[in-house]
C-alpha cells in the first residue's frame, strides 16, 4: 500500500502526501529523561490500569473456579481445551468476522460522503451536525434499548410504520428471527459508529489546504476526479485510524449484541465477546473458561491489528 506521490499540475510542485512524515530537522535524538515527560504518564497509566489486569485474566484462565467464583486450584490448559472444543465456537467465530467486517465497511462507506456533506456551508448544516452528535452522545446501552423497543414485534413502532408504507406486508420479528437479527445488530453498530467516523474524516478534510482543491479545479478536474485522486488519498491518515479503531471497537463491543440478542436462546448470534461473557457469568458460570475466552479474544484481535499495522506500514 504505497502512497503515490501526488503532484499538482502547477509546475510539478509536490503535494505533501499524508501519512509520510518527514524527518524533523531537529538533529538530536530524544534524551531518555526528556522522553519520560512526554510519554511517561501514558506508559505508567496504561501499564498499571490496562496491562496489569491482563496478567490477572491470563492467570485466571489457567485456574479452576467453583460455581461461586472461588478459585479451587490450577487447571492447566483445561479451560482452553473446553473453549476451543466447544461446538458453538465455529459459528461464534464466523459471526464475529461478519460483524466486524460488515460493521466497519458500512460505517466507513457512509461516513465518507457524510463528511463531505458536513464540510459544506449551507442552511441546516448546524442541525445536521447536532443531530449527528446525538447517537454518539447517547449511551450505547440506551440506544440499544431504544432500538429494542422500536423493533418489538408486538408493540414497537417500526412494524406499523413499514406496513403503512407498504414496504412489508406482515410484521417482522426483527429481533427473534434468525434472518434479521444479525443485520439489525450490524445496523445498530453502524448507527453508533457513524458520528465519530464522520467527524474524524471531517477533521481530516479540514486539514486539507484549500489551494489543493483550487489547483485541481483550475486544472479542469471533475469533482469526482478531484475527490478520488486528491482528497481521498489525503484522508489516508484519519481513515486508517478510524478503520483501525472501529474494528477494535466493534470487535470488543458488548452492549449492542447483548441487549438486542438478550431474548434469544442459544449462541447463534453471539460474537466472541458475548460468548465469553455468557460462559463466565450466564450459562456455564465458569470464570476460568471465560478468562480463557478473554485471552483468545485478545490474541485474535491482537494478531489482526498487528497484521494491519504491518501492512499499512505505520511506523
Amino acid at each position: 500500500m504505497t502512497t503515490e506521490k501526488q503532484t499538482s499540475a502547477i509546475a510539478g510542485r509536490p503535494v505533501p502526501p499524508a501519512g509520510r512524515r518527514r524527518r524533523p530537522a531537529s538533529p538530536q535524538r530524544m534524551r531518555p529523561l526528556a522522553l519520560l515527560i512526554w510519554i511517561g504518564p501514558s506508559v505508567l497509566l496504561i501499564v498499571g490500569i490496562v496491562v496489569y489486569p491482563l496478567f490477572e485474566t491470563v492467570r485466571a484462565s489457567f485456574q479452576d473456579f467453583a460455581l461461586t467464583g472461588a478459585v479451587k486450584g490450577w487447571a492447566g490448559f483445561d479451560n482452553f481445551e473446553k473453549v476451543l472444543t466447544d461446538p458453538d465456537l465455529p459459528r461464534v467465530l464466523a459471526n464475529t468476522g461478519i460483524w466486524v467486517v460488515a460493521g466497519v465497511a458500512v460505517t466507513t462507506l457512509l461516513a465518507l460522503p457524510l463528511a463531505q456533506l458536513l464540510n459544506k456551508d449551507f442552511w441546516g448544516g448546524r442541525i445536521l451536525r447536532i443531530a449527528l452528535i446525538v447517537p454518539w452522545a447517547a449511551s450505547i446501552v440506551m440506544t440499544a434499548i431504544g432500538f429494542r423497543w422500536i423493533l418489538n414485534y408486538y408493540y414497537g413502532v417500526l412494524n406499523p410504520f413499514l406496513m403503512s408504507l407498504h414496504i412489508i406486508q406482515k410484521p417482522v420479528d426483527w429481533l427473534g428471527d434468525e434472518r434479521t437479527i444479525g443485520w439489525v445488530m450490524i445496523a445498530t453498530a453502524v448507527f453508533i459508529s457513524l458520528p465519530f467516523t464522520a467527524f474524524a474524516i471531517l477533521s481530516g478534510l479540514k486539514g486539507i489546504p484549500d489551494d489543493v482543491n483550487e489547483a485541481a479545479q483550475i486544472d479542469g478536474a471533475t469533482r469526482w476526479k478531484t475527490y478520488r485522486y486528491i482528497t481521498f488519498p489525503l484522508l489516508r491518515g484519519p481513515l486508517m485510524v478510524t478503520v483501525l479503531l472501529n474494528s477494535i471497537w466493534i470487535f470488543n463491543s458488548f452492549p449492542i449484541i447483548y441487549v438486542l440478542n438478550k431474548s434469544n436462546p442459544g449462541y447463534q448470534n453471539d460474537t466472541t465477546i458475548t460468548f465469553m461473557y455468557k460462559i463466565a457469568f450466564l450459562t456455564d458460570r465458569d470464570i476460568g473458561a471465560g478468562a480463557a475466552m478473554a485471552v483468545l479474544n485478545v490474541l485474535i484481535v491482537g494478531v489482526c491489528v498487528a497484521l494491519y499495522v504491518r501492512r499499512a506500514r505505520l511506523d
Binding site: Y52, A66, D177, R285
Partner: protein, 411 residues
C-alpha cells in the same frame, strides 16, 4: 548510556511495584479478633424503591445497635456477576440477598441458618419454605420473599371468545388458547421461554403434567413426562395459540407486557404481575393452573433468600441484622413496596386480608420448589435458561432436555 533506555526501566519499576501491591492484597474488612462493628449487605434491586429502603434500614439499625451496615444494591441483571467478582477477590459480603445459595453452601462459605436465626425467627417459617433453603438436609438459605405461579386470564377476551370458565385441564388450556388467538390481533397464551426466566413457565406446565426435576435424589430432567410437557409447549406454539416467538419472548417486557396491554388472553403470573396490573385497566382474574388428569394442580414456588457468610467475628452482628430485617414493621413495608409475598407465618397471617397479595398466600404453601438446594442448581438453571427456548424454535424437545440432563449429571 543510551543502550538501556530509561523508559524500559521505568516500565519495569511500574510493573514490579504493581505486582508487589497485588501480592499484599488485603482481604475484606479488618476485624480485630473480636466482634465486628460493621457488616456488608448486598441486596438485589427489585425496583427504585429498594435502595432507599435498605439505606433507611441501615440507618435505623445503626441507631439501634451501633453496628454500621454498608449497603450495596445491585440490579438483578448484574448481581450474579458482581457477587462472583466479590467471591473471586475475597471481598465477601456478610449478608447476601439472592435467588440461589446452594453453591455457596457447598463451598462452605455460609453459616447454617440455625446459627444466625433467632429461635423465634427460625420457628416462624412454614415448613416448605424453610426446607427449600436446605442443602444436604441442613438449612442455609433463609427465605426472604416468595411467589408462586398461577394462571392469569383476561375475562373480556374469554367472553369474546365464548369461553365461560378458565381451563381446568391442560387440553382445555390449549383449546381455549386457540380460540382466543383467532380473535383479530390477539394472542391466546403468552408463553415466555427466552433466557430471562423460562423455568417458571416450563416448570408450571411440567409439574402440572406430572413431571419432576428429581426423583429419589436423582435428576430426571429428560424423563418421558418432562419431554411430553416440553413437547406440548412446542405444539402449542406451532398451532399459533401463543405469541409468534415464545422462545424469544421474555417475561417482564414480553409475556407480562402482552397481558398487561390486553393483547394476550392467558399468562403465567406471580404477585409481581398483580402488582403491575394495579395501574392497568384490563379485566382479569386468577385461577389455579390447570393440570393433566390425575395430577394435583400446583404452581412453581420461587423464593429469594438471605444468606450469611462466615467471616470472623460477624456472627452476632449478622444475627441481629437478620432479626431486624424480618422485624414486623420493616418486613411488611418491604413486601408491600415490592409487591412480593412475605414468607414468615406471622407476616402471612397479617397479609391474609390484603386484596392484592392475600389470594396468593395459600398457594405458596402448596406450591412446589425447583431443586434450588442442589449444589449445581445454578449451573443447571443457566443451561435451562440458555436452551429451553430452542425447543419451540426448531430443536427437538428431547434433545434439549437431554442436554440439560447431561449438564446436571456432569462433574
Amino acid at each position: 548510556m543510551h543502550r538501556k533506555p530509561v523508559r524500559a526501566a521505568a516500565i519495569a519499576v511500574a510493573a514490579l511495584s504493581l505486582l508487589a501491591l497485588s501480592a499484599c492484597s488485603a482481604s475484606g474488612d479488618s476485624s480485630s479478633g473480636g466482634k465486628v462493628t460493621s457488616i456488608k449487605f448486598v441486596a438485589a434491586e427489585y425496583s427504585p424503591k429498594t435502595a432507599p429502603y435498605w439505606d433507611k434500614i441501615a440507618k435505623d439499625f445503626k441507631a439501634k445497635t451501633g453496628i454500621t451496615v454498608d449497603v450495596q444494591t445491585i440490579a438483578w441483571n448484574d448481581i450474579h456477576q458482581q457477587v462472583s467478582t466479590m467471591v473471586q477477590t475475597n471481598q465477601l459480603p456478610d449478608v447476601l440477598n439472592l435467588d440461589s445459595f446452594a453453591q455457596y453452601a457447598a463451598d462452605e462459605l455460609l453459616y447454617p441458618a440455625s446459627e444466625v436465626e433467632s429461635s423465634s425467627l427460625a420457628a416462624d417459617f412454614p415448613k416448605n419454605l424453610a426446607d427449600s433453603g436446605s442443602v444436604g438436609g441442613k438449612n442455609y438459605g433463609i427465605p426472604f420473599v416468595g411467589s408462586d405461579s398461577v394462571l392469569f386470564y383476561n375475562t373480556d377476551l374469554f367472553t369474546q371468545a365464548g369461553i365461560a370458565e378458565p381451563p381446568k385441564t391442560i387440553d382445555e388450556l390449549a383449546s381455549d388458547a386457540e380460540k382466543i388467538s383467532k380473535l383479530p390481533g390477539k394472542v391466546g397464551f403468552a408463553l415466555s421461554l427466552s433466557p430471562e426466566a423460562p423455568h417458571i413457565d416450563y416448570s408450571t406446565f411440567m409439574f402440572n403434567m406430572g413431571g419432576e426435576y428429581m426423583k429419589n435424589g436423582k435428576w430426571t430432567i429428560n424423563s418421558d413426562a418432562n419431554v411430553k410437557a416440553l413437547g406440548f409447549l412446542k405444539q402449542l406454539t406451532d398451532s399459533g395459540a401463543t405469541e409468534v416467538n415464545p422462545g424469544n419472548t421474555g417475561r417482564v417486557e414480553g409475556s407480562w407486557q402482552l397481558f398487561e396491554s390486553g393483547t394476550a388472553g392467558m399468562v403465567i403470573g406471580q404477585t409481581g404481575l398483580a402488582d403491575r396490573l394495579k395501574t392497568s385497566n384490563i379485566q382479569y382474574k386468577t385461577a389455579a393452573f390447570p393440570s393433566s388428569p390425575g395430577v394435583t394442580p400446583t404452581g412453581l414456588a420461587v423464593a429469594d433468600y438471605l444468606m450469611a457468610f462466615k467471616k470472623p467475628g460477624n456472627q452476632d452482628a449478622v444475627k441481629q441484622f437478620l432479626s431486624f430485617a424480618f422485624a414486623e414493621k420493616n418486613y411488611a413495608t418491604f413486601a408491600a413496596n415490592e409487591g412480593l409475598l412475605p414468607v414468615t407465618s406471622s407476616s402471612q397471617k397479617a397479609l391474609a386480608s390484603d386484596p392484592t397479595l392475600g389470594p396468593y398466600i395459600p398457594g405458596l404453601e402448596t406450591a412446589k420448589f425447583a431443586p434450588v438446594g442442589e449444589a449445581n442448581w445454578d449451573k443447571v438453571l443457566g443451561e435451562m435458561k440458555n436452551s429451553l427456548g430452542l425447543a419451540v424454535s426448531g430443536t427437538d424437545p428431547k434433545k434439549v432436555l437431554d442436554q440439560i440432563q447431561a449438564v446436571a449429571t456432569s462433574k
